[in-house]
Each structure stands twice: as C-alpha cells, then as structure tokens.
C-alpha cells in the first residue's frame, strides 16, 4: 500500500546516517535495522500517546467553558475522574479484551484479563508493548470524554463514573476488537484509520443514549417548542480546549500510522498531519460562514465545534485523501454541526457541548466517505461497520443507563440542579468570589 519508490535514494542515505554504517550503502537497502525501527515506532506511540493524553485536558477545558459557572467544578472533577477510570479499566480488562485472543477476521471479542507489560529484555515485537498499551489507552479515555460533555449539568457523579468504567472496560474494547483487534469487521474490509467510528461515534452513541434517558436540563425546553439557550460560562476556556484538542489530534491521527520505521511511514505520518490540519481548518471556516449567513452573526461556539467536526470527519481516513478532499471532508463536517445542533434541540435532545453532532454525526460522515479516497474500502463494509457499532454501543449503553437510572438514579434533584452541581455534589465552587474563598480577608 505504501510504496514510495521515489524515496529510494533518500532512504539509503537516511538509513546509512541512522545506522552509521557504510554497509548500508553497499547493500543499497532502504530498510532501517530492526532495532532502529523498533525505537522509532515506539517513539511514535509515545509521542502520539502523550499528545492524545493532553486531549483529556482539551475536553475538560471545552466542557468547563460551555457549562454554567455553577457546574464548572463538577465538570472538571468528572473529566479528571473519567480519564483515570479509563486508564485503570483499560489495563485491568480493556486492552486484552480488545487485542488479545481475538479470532482473526471473525472474532467478536478478546480475553478480559489484565494487560501484561513484559520485562525490558523480553519486550519483543516491532515496538515496545508499553508504548502500544499507552497509545491505545488514551484513545479509550477520549471515548469516555465525549460522553461527559453531552450529559453535563444534571448527571450525578457516581453513576457517571460507573458508566465510564463499563464503557472503557467493556463496551469500547468489544467493538474495538472487531476492527483494531483484527476481528470480524476487519475481516469484511471495514476501514477506520484512527477511529471516526470506533472512538468518536462510539462516544457519540453512548452520549446520545445518556442524553435521551437522562432528559434535558431544567428550563432548556419551554412550552410551544420554545428553545431556551443556556450560554456557557467561558468562551476563552472553550477556545483553549478546542485548540488543545486540535493539537492532540496530530497524535491521534498521526500516531495511528502505528509505525515509524520506514521512509514511507514517516512520509505518511507527515501527510496525515497536513490532511488533519486542513480538515479542521475547513470545518471552522465553513461553520463561521454558515452562521454568518444563517443568523447574521457568527457563533464562536459553533466555530469551535466546526474545528472538532472537521477533525472527527478526517479521522476515519487521514492518509489517502488529497488536500482538496481533506478540505471537502472537514468542511462538510463543519456544515453538519451548524445544521445538526439546532436539529437536536428540535428533538429536545439536550447536548450541552455539541458532542453528538461533532463526534457521532461527523464520525459517520467521515467513515462513509473513506471509499472515495481509499480503494481498499467499500461502501458496503463501511455501512456495516457504522450500523453494527451503532447498534451494539447504543443498546449496551442504553441498558447500562437504564439499570443505573432504576437503581441508584442518574439525575440530581431539581433543587440541586438549580443550585448548581458544584455546591450539591462537589462542595467546591469553581468561582467562589462571593463565598468564603473569595471574600475572606
């Protein structure tokens, strides 16, 4: 798939420089030695992984900015908690459920056991096992982050955390095993490079079910179909969060090349960076222009969502599109957001940060257009993947949400919702200017 013959000469020089050996010239080989490949690929996983880890901060800031000031502490607590729970669950069962013992091309799941990180001397393979685990773990955490934004400002902390544990330990790994664990979806030729479906739509479906079962925030939808906007507390924080997510996405998509040991890999990762940036930029520009035309004013929060929708859309295939195609894919992601956000409101599905349009709908769009640029993919396999993941994640998430609702309850009391979750659940206000924290001597 990735034969770049024109790089042959450069390859020789690079190999020789890295290996420091004249023999490389004599062999006229483009291959780097195995240990060099191992080091570079592990490095890609680690760099990509910590970029994606920082996306947890991006989600936290985006959400902190788009909720009201009385719920900011709660949103911050949920974000650091969900990242941590995902990190634990993906070690305890998640990784092996997704990657270990999945029957090739037909498997539906792996084995739910803790991930064994081999001793340094025994760490064979084409990259370090720990670097791979870390890289895959932060993707799992990103999935959980998507859910927290949608259902903000009214969900209780503990049921959310229990849901997160099940999502990151069981639901996400099972559907992930179908494709990235080389199971049945991979067998039928489904293609999802960095997770438009596996990560973003999965988070989006889980969020959608949560939003429906939990209900809208108090006062969001009035009589006669009236929609009452609830503006967020900090546009600067939401903007910072979006930039952090955009920044982290270079690790998300670039790292998903999964190897850095050849000239071809290095070129691919770079091409992915270009397409990822173009798609996000197009998403922003389209949403700014559309809101200007539709509403006579530009909505900054939709511009931020536009960036993320462009990023989600290009994530299913950031390598094969030409720059023009990347712009088109990302731009339509931005368009989806501008139209889907008010549409969800008409359906009375209260999505505080726009995660459903951004992650679910733009994720489906990105997944379905892969065959336009990648001849290895088919519309049939893409549709099967989107539908299968959609059904599995929706049904399993809905069951978990409904059980939680029937047992411990998922929603705070109406009084607590009005007072703010910072007071009711956390006991720490984010902005305590008028409380003791601000005014005491």
């Amino acid at each position: 798939m990735k034969l770049y013959q024109k790089f042959a000469l450069t390859g020789v020089l690079a190999t020789a420089a890295i290996a420091g050996s004249d023999a490389a010239f004599a062999q006229a080989s483009t291959e780097a030695p195995e240990d060099v490949k191992y080091i570079l690929s592990s490095l890609l996983f680690l760099i990509g992984g910590f970029l994606v880890m920082f996306m947890a901060a991006g989600f936290a800031m985006l959400e902190a900015g788009l909720v009201r000031s009385k719920n900011v502490s709660m949103q911050c607590l949920k974000n650091i908690a969900l990242y941590s729970v995902a990190g634990l669950m993906f070690w305890v069962v998640g990784y092996n459920l997704m990657y270990e013992g999945v029957v090739a091309d037909t498997g539906w799941m792996g084995t739910p056991t803790p991930k064994v990180i081999p001793a340094t001397d025994a760490d064979a393979g084409s990259y370090a096992a720990g670097s791979d685990w870390f890289f895959q773990m932060v993707f799992c955490a990103a999935t959980a982050s998507i859910v927290s934004g949608t259902i903000a400002e009214r969900i209780k902390f503990w049921p959310f955390i229990i849901f997160t544990a099940i999502l990151t330990g069981i639901i996400y790994p099972i559907q992930g095993s179908w494709e990235w664990g080389a199971g049945w979806l991979n067998g039928i030729g489904f293609s999802d490079f960095a997770g438009s479906t596996l990560v973003h739509s999965t988070g989006g479906w889980a969020a959608l079910m949560g939003a429906i079962i939990l209900g809208a925030r108090a006062g969001k939808y009035g009589e006669n179909g009236r929609i009452n906007p609830i503006p967020g507390s900090s546009i600067p924080l939401a903007t910072l969060g979006t930039f952090i997510l955009w920044f982290g996405w270079f690790g998300f998509n670039g790292g998903s090349q999964l190897a850095m040991g050849t000239i071809s890999d290095a070129s691919s990762v770079s091409r992915i960076f270009v397409n990822t940036n173009l798609a996000a930029a197009a998403g922003v520009v389209v949403s700014i222009i559309l809101t200007q035309v539709l509403y006579k004013k530009m909505d900054v929060t939709l511009a931020l969502n536009g960036a993320l929708a462009g990023l989600v859309a290009i994530t299913a295939e950031p390598l094969t599109p030409s720059p023009i195609m990347a712009i088109m894919i990302g731009g339509i992601g931005g368009l989806i957001v501008v139209f889907a956000v008010p549409m969800l409101d008409k359906l009375k599905i209260d999505d505080v940060v726009g995660a459903i349009p951004v992650h679910l709908l733009a994720g489906i769009w990105g997944t379905m257009v892969v065959p336009l640029t990648n001849s290895d993919a088919t519309f049939y396999a893409q549709a099967v993947g989107v539908i299968a993941v959609g059904i599995f994640v929706s049904v399993s998430s809905a069951i978990v949400w409904l059980i939680l609702k029937a047992t411990i309850g998922i929603r705070v009391s109406p009084e607590e919702e009005l007072e703010g979750l910072d007071k009711g659940e956390v006991g720490v206000e984010a902005y305590p200017e008028f409380a003791r924290g601000g005014s005491a001597i």
């Binding site: 906007p229 609830i230 503006p231 929060t301 501008v338 956000v341 008010p342 409101d345």
Partner: protein
C-alpha cells in the same frame, strides 16, 4: 442634603466622573448593575437558538451632596452622560436625612 442615584451607560463613566470632579464632587460610589427601561433589552443567538437578553449592563453612581452642589451635579451628569441614543439612563434625586462619617463620628453636611 440630597442623595443622587444615576444609572448611566458603562462607557460614559469616565466622562461623568471627570466632569463631577471638576465641579467639586469629592466622593462617589459606583456599582455595575443590570436592568432595562422602555426598550426592553435585545436579542442574541447562541448555538442556533434566539434568546432575549432582558437586562443590559449599566453603571449606577450614588452621590450624597449638599443641596447647592446637588443641582449642579444633576446638570453635569445629564450633560456628560448623554450620547443621544436610547438607553442613556436616568437620574433619581432623594432627600437625605442624615449622614455620619464613621471614622470621626461627624454628622450632617460635615460628614459629606
């Protein structure tokens, strides 16, 4: 003694303060407030849905003055606070019964 409450546009505060200082007003209390008059706020759009902003930001200036200076102050605020557009605000004048300077215990006009 008069107690003068003025509601003005926030961006006129500096002009009003300067003008009041020039006629000898030495102290004032300023607060950021919200409210509306006859024009009833305005409409904004957030994520595709319109909503009314019923309360606009204003500045409230409170002055306690001897009668002679009070009349001059009202005139000064009217001139320096005016933009000619709707929403320039209002001035309310109340009779003030007493005043006390906390540090010294002085009362009446001496306390102003």
């Amino acid at each position: 003694m008069k107690y003068i409450i003025s509601i003005i546009k926030p961006h006129r505060l500096e002009e009003v303060r300067t003008a009041l200082s020039a006629i000898g007003v030495e102290g004032m209390t300023v607060s950021e407030v919200k409210g509306h008059g006859r024009q009833k706020g305005h409409t904004e759009i957030y994520r595709g849905a319109e909503y009314e902003v019923s309360y606009l930001p204003k500045i409230k200036i409170e002055l306690a003055l001897e009668d002679k200076l009070a009349a001059k102050a009202v005139e000064t605020i009217t001139e320096s606070g005016r933009t000619g557009q709707i929403g320039d605000g209002k001035i309310f004048v109340l009779n003030l019964d007493s005043a006390v300077r906390i540090r010294t215990g002085e009362s009446g006009e001496e306390a102003l």
